[in-house]
């Protein structure tokens, strides 16, 4: 009874051995490979039905006003996301990376940060950008191909979007180590760093290296993994033999799985984790258990690789609806509030449309700018040649 077969396939007669890498259709349908339920260790404070529940280790004391703010954040960022998605479909953006479904994971963790904390995003962190005070219009240029993001990373404490998967984890680990070396860690006023990445990134060597370095230097770094279940078309169980938060144990720091569709739990857990880091007890891994409701990007078609009943299941766990229900039940918000948020969202959507369609094309020399801090004769020669070539065309426009 010690054949490896038995571990992956306990019933001898039922079906050919299925492995996590090759689940049977039944496993996918019935169990969702256990991805629709976060398991016993999932930290949750607000159920999908809008019930406030308690957790032995984590709790949050939230006021009506704070919760209304979180609700507003999520509604607005969802509108930003949908509007930008539509702009791509209208030919105004080259590509868009939707965050639909991950609003709570991003707003909850983003709002847990202090202005002094530093954040390293991947490319889906529109909600984090929002909490860092970055106008969503500043994101559009990246996806229109006109700029690389226009915010000041130092001022906003928000690193530019990182397109290479997992690369920002190294940047963040280095930054957090710097905070430690600079003595900015150790008390309540300490600084911390947050690094955002997805479940797919956990398969990257960069993430592993970041874990190792942050761990051995006790870097004040919160690794915030949004497990949205799909690394483009690869489900999580094809990337890991155990839940992602449990990986932290192997590196020697705590790993916590939080309901990423629960803004309260995400806020509570992230606050705690940042506090630990501030006091020198970092790093910490948070796995926000959530779901990517839309495609990986606008170039992707998720219907080719995942089942729609999975999507239907997650619709019931919507991050915004549960807060709305709770606000109403607590009588913390009335219809006037919800209407005003809707109106704000409409206005924001219109601003985005206006901004995007009127965005000036960058001048031809832009591609040569910001390559070197100081000038470079080779590059300047190339630039002059290219500008001469471009100016040779009639009409001027391209």
């Amino acid at each position: 009874m010690s054949s490896p077969e038995q571990w992956t396939h306990p019933e001898p007669d039922a079906a050919p051995a299925a492995t996590a890498a090759k689940p049977t259709a039944e496993q996918v349908i019935a169990g969702l490979r256990a991805t629709d339920e976060g398991g016993a260790d999932l930290v949750q404070l607000l159920t999908p039905e809008g019930e406030r529940v308690t957790h032995p280790d984590f709790d949050i004391d939230i006021s009506a006003e704070e919760l209304r703010g979180l609700y507003r954040d999520m509604v607005l960022i969802r509108r930003v996301d949908r509007e930008a998605n539509a702009l791509q479909r209208k030919g105004q953006l080259g590509i868009w990376v939707p965050l639909l479904g991950q609003e709570a994971a991003q707003i909850g963790s983003g709002r847990a940060m202090r202005p002094t904390d530093m954040a390293f995003p991947s490319y889906r962190e529109h909600g984090i950008a929002w909490t860092r005070g970055i106008n969503p219009t500043e994101l559009l240029g990246i996806f229109r191909g006109t700029d690389q993001g226009t915010w000041d990373p130092v001022e906003k404490r928000f690193h530019p979007y990182t397109i290479v998967i997992g690369n920002q984890v190294l940047n963040a680990a280095g930054y957090a180590m710097g905070q430690k070396f600079d003595g900015k860690v150790g008390d309540d006023d300490g600084e911390a760093t947050m690094c955002f990445f997805g479940d797919g990134a956990t398969s990257q060597g960069d993430v592993h290296e970041g874990f190792v370095w942050a761990a051995v230097y006790d870097a004040p770094l919160v690794f915030f993994c949004q497990n949205n279940q799909w690394a483009i078309s690869e489900p999580t169980e094809r990337q890991s033999r155990l839940p992602l938060y449990q990986r932290a144990r192997g590196y020697g720091f705590p790993g916590i799985r939080v309901d990423g569709n629960d803004v309260l739990a995400t806020l509570a857990v992230t606050r705690w984790a940042l506090d630990e880091c501030r006091h020198g007890n970092g790093p910490i891994l948070i796995e926000a258990f959530t779901y990517r409701m839309d495609a990986h990007t606008t170039s992707d078609d998720p219907t080719r690789y995942r089942l729609s009943d999975e999507l239907e299941m997650w619709k019931l766990k919507d991050p915004i609806e549960r807060v709305k229900v709770y606000l109403v039940k607590q009588q913390w918000a009335d219809s006037e509030f919800f209407e005003s948020v809707e109106a704000d969202a409409d206005k924001l959507g219109e601003e985005l449309r206006e901004f995007c369609t009127n965005m000036p094309d960058p001048p031809a020399e832009r591609i040569f700018s910001n390559v070197y801090a100081e000038g470079n004769p080779n590059l300047e020669a190339q630039r002059d040649e290219f500008l001469g070539y471009v100016s040779g065309f009639a009409g001027g426009e391209h």
């Binding site: 050919p16 539509a86 479909r89 078609d301 009639a394």
Partner: protein
């Protein structure tokens, strides 16, 4: 004043050049809102819904469902100020940035393209080039031509092989994409000898395949060297194994083949019912799976078909297990992977195992070990639309069943001619091991199980 705007087909993924219109969700006269979904398109990557960029009234749809539209070509005209006086057809509106402008149907546009009911006729072959400011056409062009132009002029009288097509080293390179080049190389086709039928004379896969199919059409030479028109492939791998197995089997085991035609309508009905059953969701339940199950059940009554003639030991080996071989056509040739311990599997287990087996085989990943030690085999000739055959035994096995195509055929049921699902079974067996009586019994049992799956209850 009505204000007409045209929505050009966007590139919805990175770098697509065209898309097919699937369905329009609006029609002329409809009022549309910003971001309302107006049309579904399908690109090479995905089916995608397009939102409306403006609020207004749909004036005209410029593309029909099923039509392939190039990116940048307008697909819909929307009146963004319908309050104004009703104007007739959308007169040429402000051209979109890409320079396409709407024209009257049938009229030639500046670019030489003709406006049709649903867009524009085909583009002329010339690539669009933007005009240079100082039109340096004449003089510089000549200047370009003047410098050493070795290709046409100095073309060295290379030792041209008689009859060989133009093959100037370093000169003309036939246009073909790398996979096509590989194909041509594999098939021994000289790309220099072909004329491309693709755009700009690119040699396509079809060109190469045509050239192979009709080698005689190639430049006919007086001296025909057959050697160049034959392909010698070393006998190895699967082909070699197949040949050896077939020869061994055909010359050692005395084959008998029996045939049975069966009305499998009840089985097909059961299959249809099971397909909708929750526990079979996602399972590819094929007639082959039923056949496999029937064989396993029937072999219990006639263990001889699942036995081996061990000539060396002078024994017949009866087996209490069934390793069911499935003959599969693959790019590498015929392979017969096994479903191990098939007798311990449920119908569903079998269906899943068969599907996996076929996938692995088709990918050419069946390992030699997977093909060893079968006890009985099914060859599903039905998938090729073939009715039946006289299968040759897999060496070491005593029976092989050919499952023919299942067809709608007239059949006599209760004295009346009905259209039923009919299938032919052919069983070859090793007469050293299996007598005619057992073989016939086995075949009849399999047939009965397929004709009336309920019979399985009695086993």
């Amino acid at each position: 004043m009505p204000q007409y705007k045209q929505f050009p087909l966007p590139d919805t993924a990175e770098g697509l050049t065209e898309a097919d219109i699937l369905t329009w969700h609006v029609k002329p006269g409809d009022t549309v809102k910003v971001n309302q979904i107006i049309v579904e398109i399908e690109t090479a990557k995905a089916a995608v819904e397009l939102p409306c960029p403006w609020a207004g009234v749909v004036t005209e749809l410029l593309a029909e469902p099923g039509q392939t539209v190039e990116v940048g070509v307008p697909i819909i005209t929307i009146d963004t100020d319908p309050g104004g006086a009703a104007a007739p057809a959308p007169a040429p509106v402000a051209a979109e940035a890409n320079g396409t402008s709407s024209g009257k149907i049938g009229e030639e546009m500046p670019g030489g393209r003709i406006a049709t009911l649903v867009g524009y006729g085909p583009k002329s072959g010339t690539a669009k080039r933007r005009a240079r400011k100082d039109t340096p056409a004449a003089a510089p062009a000549a200047a370009v031509a003047a410098p050493p132009a070795p290709a046409p002029v100095v073309a060295p009288p290379a030792p041209v092989v008689v009859a060989a097509p133009v093959q100037t080293p370093g000169g003309y390179v036939p246009l073909a994409k790398p996979p096509v080049r590989k194909l041509a190389k594999d098939l021994g086709v000289d790309l220099h000898a072909l004329t491309g039928s693709g755009p700009n004379g690119v040699i396509t896969r079809e060109d190469v395949e045509t050239a192979v199919a009709a080698p005689a059409a190639a430049p006919a030479q007086s001296v025909v060297d057959n050697g160049s028109r034959e392909r010698r492939v070393p006998i190895k791998g699967v082909r070699k194994a197949t040949a050896q197995a077939m020869v061994d089997s055909a010359f050692t085991a005395p084959h008998v083949t029996e045939f049975l035609t069966v009305d499998v309508t009840p089985m097909m009905e059961l299959r249809a019912r099971l397909k909708n059953a929750p526990e079979f969701r996602g399972v590819k339940l094929t007639p082959l799976a039923f056949c496999a199950k029937a064989i396993i059940l029937a072999a219990r009554r006639t263990p001889d078909v699942n036995a081996t003639w061990d000539a060396a030991a002078n024994e017949i080996v009866y087996k209490d297990y069934v390793h069911l071989g499935i003959a599969a056509a693959t790019p590498r040739g015929l392979v017969v992977p096994k479903v191990r311990d098939a007798d311990r599997m449920s119908l569903k287990g079998l269906a899943i195992a068969l599907d996996e087996l076929a996938t692995v085989a088709r990918e050419g990943k069946t390992s030699p070990a997977d093909m060893m030690n079968g006890t009985i085999t099914i060859t599903n000739v039905g998938v090729f639309g073939v009715d039946t055959g006289t299968p040759i035994l897999n060496p070491g096995e005593s029976a092989i069943l050919a499952l023919g195509a299942i067809r709608d055929m007239p059949w006599v049921v209760d004295g009346e001619i009905k259209i039923r699902k009919i299938c032919q079974l052919a069983l070859s067996f090793d007469h050293r091991v299996v007598d005619g009586q057992q073989g016939s019994q086995f075949l009849a049992d399999v047939g009965a199980l397929l004709a009336e799956p309920g019979i399985a209850m009695t086993y």
